[in-house]
């Protein structure tokens, strides 16, 4: 049977991190789908100015990129907290 390239430590936060990942993924896919739906249903809406004389296409497009970066940092911060808390707790509880 295969295994990782190097021996990995047991990760007791894996399930919780996985659930958080799915929630954030669903949130992002909804925002991404919004962009596609506007493009299909009412592409003229993309011309409307939203912020600082920039049209919706520019704001939404840049927004999707920036949102991915911000969500990445948030996800990492929460996951790191979970790992520290749950894996340390396991080590302390171990007889």
């Amino acid at each position: 049977m295969h295994g990782p390239a190097i021996k990995l430590e047991t990760d007791h936060a894996a399930d919780k991190k996985s659930r958080l990942g799915i929630i954030l993924f669903i949130f992002y896919i909804l925002v991404y789908s919004g962009f596609v739906v506007i493009g299909l249903a009412d592409p003229e809406l993309m011309r409307v100015h939203i912020i600082g004389k920039q049209n919706l296409a520019i704001v939404y497009g840049f927004g999707l990129i920036i949102l991915a970066i911000i969500m990445g940092f948030i996800y990492n911060a929460i996951c790191t907290g979970m790992e520290n808390r749950m894996n340390n707790k396991y080590r302390e509880d171990k007889p």
């Binding site: 049977m1 295969h2 295994g3 990782p4 390239a5 190097i6 990995l8 430590e9 047991t10 990760d11 894996a14 991190k17 996985s18 990942g21 799915i22 954030l24 993924f25 992002y28 896919i29 991404y32 962009f35 596609v36 493009g39 299909l40 592409p43 003229e44 993309m46 011309r47 600082g52 004389k53 920039q54 049209n55 296409a57 520019i58 497009g61 840049f62 999707l64 990129i65 920036i66 991915a68 970066i69 969500m71 990445g72 940092f73 996800y75 990492n76 996951c79 790191t80 790992e83």
Partner: protein, 640 residues
Amino acid sequence: MIYDVSIWAIIIFIAFVAMVLGLSFYFARKTKSASGYYAAGGQIHWGVNGIAFAGDYLSAASFLGICGMIAFSGYDGFLYSIGYLAGWVVALFIVAEPLKRLGKFTFTDALDARFNSKAIKLTASISTLVVSLFYLIPQMVGAGDLVVPLLGLPHWAGVVIVGSIVIFIVATAGMTSTTYVQFIKGALLIIFSTILTFYIFKNGLNLNPGEHYKEFTRLETIVEGNTIEGVTDPAYRIEDSYTVNNFHTFMKLDKEGIAHWFKLNDDSTYLEEVLSASIQADGTKLYNGAPKSEGRFRQVGHLTKIEFDGEEVDETGPLGPFKFLSTLENSEIVRFKKMEIKEANTTVWFQTPTSGKDMLIPGLLYKISTRAGATFWTKLNFVSLMLALFFGTSALPHILIRYYTVPSQRAARKSTIVAIAAIGFFYMLTLYMGLGASVNGVLDVESSNMSGPLLAKYFGVGLFSIISAIAFATVLGTVSGLIVASSGAIAHDFLDKFLNMKMDDRKKVKAGKLAAFCVGIFAIILGILFKGMNVSFLVGLAFSVAASANLPSILFLLFWDKTTARGIAWSIVTGILASVIIILLSPTMFEQYGLDRNLAPVPLDNPGIISIPLAVIVLIIASLLTQKDNVNKVENYHND
């Protein structure tokens, strides 16, 4: 040739290649084990791996292809930037850590971790090869495109140079040297793209792109009745007239023995000069009536109107990133549309004034607005592209293997976040680089791929030299990664695991190197055969094949306990076949075959909307029908 060779470009290029080879020599001495060759020993720092991810991902398609597509088709090129980056969200939130836990060297290892199935080993290794080859073709084509202006060599020479260097890099040191080449290249690409974008802002917008920029000739017509008898300039004589698609009229005029092509305007009052490439009876190609070396065929792209703070101006001076976009939105850009005049064996590119408002929304390339003639199929094509870009990233084998070069799940996650930040920042720059190229008279209508480097040349030969060398290194790095992935599929997945050849560590590395050599030779041949194809389009297809063949298996393996080995294998086969068959029967491929695109049996260019759901359905049905296979499945794989 419409751009001259620069000695600085050659020097910097050689310095880059020497550095890359030196790095390979250095790491070759350290690479002795299979783990070192395929996964860099699993000891790369997450920060280095993150930027190396960016290096892997920002391939010829991103720098050359996207910038070119934005320059020629506006916001539609930026859709690729948005989709390519969004794909990393799937990688980060869903795939990164579980895949790190499951795998050893390759993507096949991860899929097979719970099953130990021959069917998975075979189909996943084939899938890795197919996707890698689809991805390799545009990289090699891009390499050939780059050396033409950079070194003054023919296209095939560029392909051979890249292929040879990459075979050397991969066959000497494998994943370690590939990682550091990607790290350096990724970092330099982002730094110098930022500098290029700064130049664009400093330059602002200008009606006159520079002294080198030649105005297009306009001739008034002499009309008698409904017939055009001639033009007011006596130096020109009308030779022939052709109407294309019952709408556009092009005329061939003679001046001092040289053929000039013009387009008749809508009310027949004047003729406007176009760019032309004509194939003569003896097979030679004339550009604007003369050999290309005479320089009559020129770089194009300019503004005809700039509205700055409510007033029409000739130039704006330096602009900030937001002011640049809002000013461009109120300006008018001249794009160039391509048309074939088959009766005259001539291709023409004619001026198409386009409102900045249209440049900055989707629709010039992908018809999604009913007003612009969108149909059900053009809209479906748009959805299909966005779907493939979103789900393709985390299914690319050369990206997935990078998760095995770091020491832990946490490092895998962190390196993905570094990659998202670096790649996201770069993709925001692509909009400015593409738009900057479209208005500064630098576009080569025959090769949209060169828009970014040629824009750099507009700001100075030094910047051009560095950017071109980095672009070349971009191709080198990405091809290296793809060949490592392919050699892993052949040597590790197929020979060692599927055929059970029981190789020791030393033999595994040797087999990997031999496989890298063979794939490299094959890639060189494909790169020469596919000359002239659009780089971004080809990469889009690689994403579609990856998303169809690999992603359903990855997601269902992680999130559906009833998934079986045969379900995965059938899903991979279905994904590959469905996506490749749809691509081969698509309108764009029919054009490549020299046939009428309207005759294509499948009206879609991007197969994802059909092939991804099909692969999912097959996986579910096949898994439900083969539940008894799961009796021997390895449980608790999470933390073994």
